[in-house]
């Protein structure tokens, strides 16, 4: 039923456009019914997009090749989970997912934050409407997923690298992150439009920003795991523009989540926070533009792309309009207080922000430079890993150190004697760890050694923070240690949830440093019975087998893995041949040692006609800390996101929402 899908999207476009016009007019003239009607239009737009999405999902599940999109991205033999995940396997479906998530977020934001400040929310609705109008316009007029054709016997299949379980979870997570950044942006613009630049927009968007940031972070880690297991080159992050596209808004959002605390505590950085929200949202649009416009292939494929120029135009509009609005409201955003000392908590937040934004902008420059050079000089100059690695170390290592320093310094100002006393323990611990690591041979990589030493420092400060907090809580309440500990977290979820997230970043730093600075690899051509030694592993090649799965021919080498004289594993690296897609994929074999955190990573590079194989073995030390970091990151984010009844009540009193009559329902 492609007609139903098309009709639903046309209805969605009309509703989004109505939300813009009615929303702006209702807010401007302070007409309650019109504003409420605009809010309802956003809710109805979500329902309408949901109908269109269900139509596409049903077509994918039924292999209805009368839908061009289904024919281009699936085949009859494709397993059902991948058929359904093909929803976002192509450009048109991705845009539909953007629209679905956007209208879903808009509905939730409008319904949950109705009472955040009516004057604010009525201005938020048309801003959300503008974004929804743009995306619905794209899927209705420019890149519809409901184009039809004479039904083929079979479809073209799905790109082999997308045929991974991570494909089912990684893109939706990223989209929840990218699109989620629309909500804080809309509230920030709503605050500027309404002239209500108090903290309500921050209070209303705190959880939305955190949720989007969490999804974006988890999405990137899942993407890294996907690259690690599926792409088959032994690494997990290659500074690919598509990967950078997700990292940039995440960095901007991270800066915002920190600087917003300075605004809450000190009433400072109001303009900066607005800029960060705009940057994060613009970068999320830019990320979608990068991945969907074809601009990464060449400037020519961008100009030939149906959506590229539209996207670029919309990004320019968003940046210009939001900056103009910000300049217009500048007098309202002046802070009354100033930074009292360069050695204070707020100062460390400022340093953290400068480093995060600097890292974000250097990545942006690295991503855009090849595009600009191709546009200006006619040839694309590639910006390679050394550029990114240099800036990642230059900004990332100080950021890691600041993560340990910041929480220990008091707000307003700190004296030298206090600093000496507080930092003595963690510094001694970190130096001891550094010396121990040098003794163990970790001095071969200076950045790795610095990363480990800083990680030890941050870990010590986190443990110290929890220990001191628990002790203070015990002194006050007389509770047992476990009770005091849980009560400490429950009473200040943002602070201690944040520390858990910091612990996740420490694990991430350890994982990245270990796997990138201390990894070992060896390549060899082996015949059956021949072996290869790599550190304390001996790998013996036994032979190759071929099997047939639902939609691929699977070719696997058998490798016996010995350590300390005994066989500890049998591994099967190989390749999959997808006849429908006419693609061959690397299927690596990984053996994780959960005690040491290291991976033995095997790649079959080529199976030769004479029974020999060319294969590569890599030892990635501590790489599993990265995936563990993902779990800890989610735990910390959830603690921070968890509603705090005391905080809610305090805010309700501040904004006079307690004694009000209930909101009439429409």
């Amino acid at each position: 039923m492609p007609e139903l899908g098309r009709a639903a999207l046309v209805v969605c476009f009309g509703l989004a456009l109505y939300a813009v016009v009615a929303g702006f007019w209702g807010a401007h003239t302070r007409r309650r019914r019109l504003s409420r009607s605009a809010q309802n239009a956003l809710v109805a737009a979500f329902a309408s997009t949901l109908v269109a999405s269900v139509v596409l999902l049903v077509a994918l599940a039924r292999s209805d090749f009368a839908f061009s999109y289904v024919a281009q991205h699936t085949s009859r033999e494709l397993p059902m989970p991948y058929k359904l995940a093909s929803f976002y396997g192509g450009q048109e479906g991705s845009l539909l997912l953007w629209l679905l998530v956007l209208t879903g977020y808009s509905t939730a934001a409008v319904l949950l934050d109705r009472k955040a400040g009516r004057e604010l929310v009525v201005w938020v609705v048309p801003v959300l409407g503008v974004v929804a109008t743009f995306f619905s316009m794209l899927v209705v007029f420019v890149a519809s997923p409901f184009h039809t054709q004479l039904a083929n016997v079979d479809g073209a299949g799905l790109n082999s690298s997308l045929q991974s379980p991570y494909f089912q979870i990684h893109p939706p997570m990223l989209y929840l992150g990218y699109v989620g950044l629309t909500v804080p942006f809309a509230f920030a613009m709503g605050a500027l439009l309404s002239g209500r630049t108090d903290e309500r927009w921050i209070v209303a968007t705190r959880r939305w920003t955190l949720a989007a940031w969490m999804f974006l972070g988890v999405g990137q880690l899942l993407g890294a795991k996907w690259a690690y297991e599926e792409v088959g080159w032994g690494g997990y992050y290659a500074w690919d523009p598509v990967e950078n596209a997700a990292l940039m808004p995440w960095l901007a959002a991270t800066a915002f989540l920190h600087s917003v605390m300075v605004q809450e505590k000190k009433g400072m950085l109001k303009v900066w926070n607005m800029l960060l929200v705009m940057l994060a949202f613009s970068l999320s649009l830019f990320g979608t533009f990068l991945t969907r416009s074809g601009v990464l292939n060449s400037i020519h494929s961008f100009t030939e792309s149906s959506i590229g120029p539209w996207f670029l135009g919309f990004i320019c509009f968003v940046v210009a309009a939001s900056l103009a609005l910000l300049f217009y409201r500048l007098p309202m955003l002046r802070a009354k207080t100033k930074l009292e000392s360069l050695v204070s908590r707020e100062a460390t937040f400022l340093y953290n922000n400068l480093l995060l934004v600097a890292l974000c902008l250097t990545i942006l420059w690295g991503v855009t430079f090849p595009i600009l050079s191709e546009a200006v000089r006619g040839e694309a100059v590639t910006v390679g890993r050394p550029y990114y690695n240099f800036f990642f170390r230059s900004f990332g290592l100080p950021l890691l150190l600041l993560m340990g320093i910041g929480p220990l310094i008091a707000w307003r100002r700190a004296s030298l004697s206090s600093l000496k006393r507080i930092f003595f323990g963690p510094t001694v611990f970190a130096l001891a760890v550094g010396i121990l690591l040098i003794a163990l041979g970790a001095g071969s990589s200076l950045p790795g050694l610095i990363a480990y030493t800083f990680s030890a420092f941050v870990a010590a400060t986190i443990v110290l923070e929890f220990a001191r907090g628990t002790a203070a809580r015990r002194t006050l309440s007389g509770d047992s240690v476990p009770r005091a500990f849980t009560s400490l977290i429950a009473r200040n979820r943002r602070r201690y949830g944040g520390y858990v997230v910091h612990a996740a970043i420490v694990l991430l730093a350890i994982g990245i440093a270990g796997s990138s600075a201390y990894n070992t690899s060896r390549s060899a051509r082996l015949g059956p019975g021949q072996s290869l030694k790599l550190r304390d592993y001996t790998l013996v090649y036994r032979g190759v087998t071929n099997t047939r799965s639902a939609n691929a021919i699977e070719e696997r080498a058998t490798i016996d893995v010995y350590r300390g004289g005994s066989r500890i594993a049998v591994m099967h690296p190989g390749k999959n041949d997808y006849p429908v897609e006419q693609q061959v994929s690397n299927e690596v074999a990984i053996r994780s040692d959960w005690l040491t955190g290291e991976d033995l990573f095997l790649i079959t590079e080529q199976v030769n006609g004479n029974g020999t194989i060319d294969f590569k073995a890599i030892i990635n030390p501590l790489v599993n800390m990265i995936w563990l970091a993902g779990l800890v990151f989610v735990l910390g984010s959830v603690i921070t996101l968890w509603p705090d009844a005391r905080e809610e009540q305090r805010l309700a009193i501040r904004y006079g929402r307690l004694a009000r009559a209930p909101e009439p329902q429409a």
């Binding site: 009709a7 639903a8 209805v11 007409r31 307003r412 004694a659």
Partner: protein, 102 residues
């Protein structure tokens, strides 16, 4: 199939129009309720900020991040800030929830 799709599409459009028009059928006043004046909100935020700063200082002192000397140097300023914020609120307009009709 085409007819069914068109009928479902038309029903969707009608349902959307009804839902969007619903607020116009209600009897609530058609004017957005007045909100507390920005100055008042600014004072409330100022008060909360001052009280939170005092609370943070107490906690930092208790957890040993701030020495007794530093604590004594800072607590006076913060108490003064909090007192001024509370006085400013007292001098200001009445509470928003008591004043604003809904």
């Amino acid at each position: 199939m085409l007819t069914a799709a068109l009928v479902i599409g038309a029903l969707l459009a009608v349902a959307a129009v009804w839902f969007v028009a619903r607020p116009f059928l209600g009897r609530e006043p058609d004017v957005l309720p007045a909100e507390p004046p920005p100055e008042r909100l600014a004072l409330e935020e100022e008060r909360d900020r001052a009280l939170a700063a005092l609370k943070d200082l107490e906690f930092d002192h208790r957890t040993g991040k701030i020495s007794d000397d530093d604590y004594r140097g800072l607590v006076g300023d913060l108490r003064r800030d909090a007192a001024e914020a509370l006085k400013a609120l007292d001098r200001g307009t009445p509470r928003a929830d008591a004043r604003v009709p809904d």
